[in-house]
């Protein structure tokens, strides 16, 4: 019982910061033309100006950019596509977290 209690506390403690960091959910965007750090940095700069966006993570191997939103905020697919096009890249697909 004691072990179960400690395990539960530990799991909650580890998961709470993750939830607090990205309480608004995430969107994964598959991007064409994402070949270098500079491309990734360009997208960071563009999305960093959006109030709805907490931060983004870029995976150059998969060409997927994950957008983490602030709580209660998001961007629609059209806006996300426009921002990526404005940064000079093109969208292959957008997948919302369920």
């Amino acid at each position: 019982m004691k072990n179960l209690f400690l395990t539960t506390i530990l799991v909650l403690a580890l998961s709470a910061p993750a939830y607090a960091m990205h309480p608004g959910g995430t969107v994964n965007v598959d991007i064409n033309g994402l070949v270098c750090d500079f491309c990734a940095r360009a997208l960071e700069k563009v999305f960093g100006k959006q109030e709805a966006v907490d931060n983004i993570t870029v995976n150059l191997d998969t060409k997927i950019v994950t957008i983490h939103f602030n709580e209660g905020q998001s961007l629609d697919d059209e806006t996300i596509t426009q921002l990526i096009n404005d940064a000079g890249y093109s969208v292959e697909g957008i997948k919302h977290d369920e």
Binding site: I31, N32, G33, V35, C36, D37, F38, C39, A40, R41, A42, K45, V46, K49, V58, N59, L60, D61, K63, D86, A87, G88, Y89, S90, E92
Partner: protein, 213 residues
């Protein structure tokens, strides 16, 4: 004039804050400091959109002992975004003033302009580019030049890693005495800094530093 140029280049080396692309992301500033056997240059530009940049360029041409100060505009004519690669076509143009310290043209000032195209293709392993330029500087000088590069990354780094490229540059200036210059070089790219260093077949050092912020 040469002192002013070197002073400016020196100041550029201490700007606190890549890729050698002539257009950055919307709202992005870029400082490019380029040095090789023919010339030294400082190019500072701002990109209102990802389609073009506006900036100032200062060049010092060693053989002719003259400087060119220009307002430069770079246009991204076309970008091809592919799943694992990217290709670009640019138009680079500048207008300004040339000033000579050399012989018959000592103290002479002329209007100057240049234009040329630049193209590149790259994925995370390979890189290739081509660039040409015609420069007109009144009585002081006029010339055509072109260059090409190939490169390979010995390892594929993740985002944020130090990226390394091994490159070979061939520059062709038909009017020059040594009209072909071949320069093997190393490109290092991390965070907002891109540094290139090499030595040409004429024994001249190439050193470029590009900062994006």
């Amino acid at each position: 004039m040469r002192f002013i140029l070197f002073a400016l280049l020196g100041m550029g080396l201490f700007i606190p804050s890549v890729h050698a692309r002539p257009v950055s992301y919307p709202g992005g500033w870029t400082t490019m400091i380029m040095n090789n056997g023919d010339r030294h240059s400082l190019h500072l530009h701002y990109s209102p959109t990802a389609k073009y940049s506006l900036g100032y360029k200062l060049e010092y041409w060693r053989d002719g002992d003259y400087t060119i100060n220009t307002l430069q505009m770079n246009n991204l004519l076309k970008r091809w975004n592919m799943p694992d690669a990217q290709a670009n076509l640019y138009l680079k143009s500048g207008v300004g003033v040339a000033y000579s310290d050399n012989g018959n043209f000592d103290g002479e000032t002329d209007l100057a302009a240049f234009t040329g195209i630049a193209a590149d293709w790259e994925n995370r392993r390979f890189f290739t580019s081509y660039e040409n330029r015609y420069t007109e500087a009144g009585d002081i000088d006029d010339f055509y030049m072109q260059s090409a590069r190939v490169g390979v990354a010995p390892y594929i780094g993740d985002y944020g890693d130090l990226h390394t490229w091994l490159m070979l540059e061939v520059e062709h200036t038909p009017e020059a005495e040594d009209n072909f210059t071949v320069t093997p070089l190393v490109r290092l790219f991390k965070d907002v800094h891109l540094i290139e260093a090499g030595v040409s077949n004429h024994g001249d050092v190439l050193f470029n530093w590009i900062i994006r912020y």
